[in-house]
Symmetry: C2
Subunit: 158 residues, 2 copies
DNA sequence: TTTAGATAGTTGCAAGTGAGACTATCTCGC
DNA sequence: GCGAGATAGTCTCACTTGCAACTATCTAAA
């Protein structure tokens, strides 16, 4: 007779842990800065890469649907946190970048989030944290989760 | 100047991986059996614990909102996969259990899901899988994710 | 016994999100 | 240069889900 203990079932555990950790972090940027998760992902991508990039690129990187990114971009534009310039080489797409105001928010937010990450991982030793990250990486690789530069068709086809 | 690389940020990675793994698994029970994730969680909880249990208990175990569980229970009842009997000791709650039909589905589904889990983890050695599970457990413990028997108020307050 | 507060479960409502249609633009082959 | 197909981004629709109100029931204390 087959049995499956949810608490020992890795897919369930990953899903639950991912949701929980996200919720713990989101309070940081939601309550304090009024950002939701897609908005934060746009900010994070633009803040990390100094050059302006397209909405499509962000969607691929963060593995978020393009319509969700589109809405997040609209909202961030309205709040003056990002700006968008036409790409004269390809007028279908827009180049997005943080505004000064966006940079200020980013600089304030990042240390808070990194601190939260450290808190969550503080139950592990330095060696364990390193090992955990390595194992996560192996699983991500095998699921093809990290190659941001693939065409979107492949991403969605997965 | 603070920087945060999303691809190295564990909360983001956990969230993305959890969503991805869930999506990979859900095709198994969605396409083949028409179950959605909350329904599958109800089935999994009832199938693992042989005794009948309440919707509230399932909500706590699976960390799913009680209204979501309520809807899943309604749907499973309609499909004849579970049954529900009044608890004479406390007439507010109902005892839920798999029907014969539900058992058959469960027995069919579990091996498939376990096989999928193995596939996902096949990129790790046996030793690494063990270590990964151990580290996951430490993080879960520190986030208080595994004590299913706490009162719901605490669960929601987290 | 009565009453206030807690708890189980259901339901209406609003917010968020993915799918897919749509427009505008680009690319490539003819 | 032209037309077919690809791509960027927006928008509508349908679906899901969390929240909160609600009913019914239980518990405990006055």
């Amino acid at each position: 007779m087959a049995k499956l203990d949810l608490f020992k079932f890795v897919p369930f555990r990953l899903n639950r842990l991912g949701a929980e950790v996200s919720a713990a972090l989101s309070s940081e940027y939601r309550a304090r800065y009024g950002l939701d998760i897609p908005e934060w992902r746009v900010m994070a991508t633009l803040g990390f890469r100094n050059e302006a990039c397209s909405a499509q690129y962000i969607a691929q990187c963060t593995r978020t649907h393009k319509s969700t990114i589109s809405r997040a971009v609209t909202s961030l534009l309205e709040h003056g946190l990002i700006e968008r310039v036409e790409n004269t080489e390809d007028r279908r797409e827009f180049r997005l970048a943080l505004t000064d105001k966006g940079h200020v928010l980013y600089e304030e937010l990042i240390p808070r989030l990194l601190r939260r990450e450290q808190e969550i991982l503080s139950c592990l030793t330095a060696q364990e944290r390193k090992e955990f990250a390595r194992l996560l990486g192996k699983i991500e690789d095998s699921l093809d989760l990290v190659q941001a530069s693939r065409p979107m068709s492949e991403v969605e086809a997965y």
